[in-house]
Symmetry: C5
């Protein structure tokens, strides 16, 4: 899994029928020091993530292992909202402090 910050939303009316009701969020990729990395991903939301939150997302066939993405043409899913991240003994992200 990789880390991302929810930075946006995407609206689509003309889409594969099975995707009806699925919420797509735009993620900017993050590194583990708390900074932004190059790259983005549009992911389905399985956990009710909100704008600005730091999340964990899974890609590939693993992105279909949730009730909202099962058997759908979706290759990225937000499966966890991050509370805190500790790297090399330091808290590099804490939702209550930085969120």
């Amino acid at each position: 899994m990789l880390l991302g910050r929810v930075v946006g939303t995407l609206v689509s009316t003309n889409k594969e029928p099975s995707l009806e009701g699925l919420k797509f969020l735009v993620l900017r990729q993050l590194d583990i020091e708390g900074g932004e990395a190059a790259g983005y991903r549009v992911a389905a939301d399985a956990v009710g993530a909100g704008l600005g939150e730091v999340v964990l997302y899974a890609t590939g066939s693993s992105a279909r292992q949730t009730s909202v993405t099962d058997k759908r043409p979706c290759d990225a899913v937000i499966m966890a909202i991050v509370d805190s991240l500790a790297v090399d003994g330091e808290v590099t992200y804490d939702k209550s402090r930085d969120g």
Copy 2:
């Protein structure tokens, strides 16, 4: 999923029999600020996308989760046409404005 703009078409008469009837479109990858990224993808079209449209595409096994790509040797599918994209509070793409 990643964003792409439909920039071209591909014709093939000699192909895997199961791909008969599938439409292949050429996508130039886009970033979330509305610009073009390096890289392209040739994707099957599951939603009737047209030249110039901004679309969302899925790759890997997820690309086979549509009725037109099921069980076919196809690793990228256009599964949504994008109406609008909002990033960091700004509308970076709006089909009726930029399309």
Copy 3:
């Protein structure tokens, strides 16, 4: 899918038994303007592609969705020979012209 040109062949006698009879071709990756990109792929041939031809190949589990690659440890397959490619309104590749 990505585009490649068939530039070579690979011979292997000591291989996974299920791969017996499968033809492996060496592909140089192409961009959509007709030029060569960095990178290569060795792919199984499902369509009878020949040296010099421009082809489309699929990777991952999608590469096993042909009769010759089904259930085999093969992660890339040539599933179409390209006749022509049109990008931004120009024909960037035409087999009868450039092939």
Copy 4:
């Protein structure tokens, strides 16, 4: 598989229900000469890895082939703790020496 060093932990209370009980570790990617590579991965732990250990991790659908990750939206798993690594005739990592 790729090599990583366990450098951190991640806490998440709001996540996909099936992930309850799964431990997520932060890995910094390593090269085979014993140095750190760019890039990281957050992976589920299937072997009881600890901070500072060098591990092997698998990604994609293969990451779900353990009892703790089966059918879960998880695309990276630590499946082995490395004791030693020998490259070009030299021991580039030995847990009892470098661990």
Copy 5:
């Protein structure tokens, strides 16, 4: 598939139980001109490859399509030992000449 040269071995006693007996080899990635590329992969050995040999390896779910890797958390497998490689009409690798 991509090309690699077997440059090392990896020892692990604490690993996912299903991996018991599987041999992991360290591969340095090769280009098709016979040179070394950046990057490596640790792969399970399905064909009895030895140090110094040039091999072909498959990744992702395709890496599990051998009897030794079936249903195991393994995302890369050596599925062929390369005898020779011909690119652009030249033999860029021949095991009996270069091996």
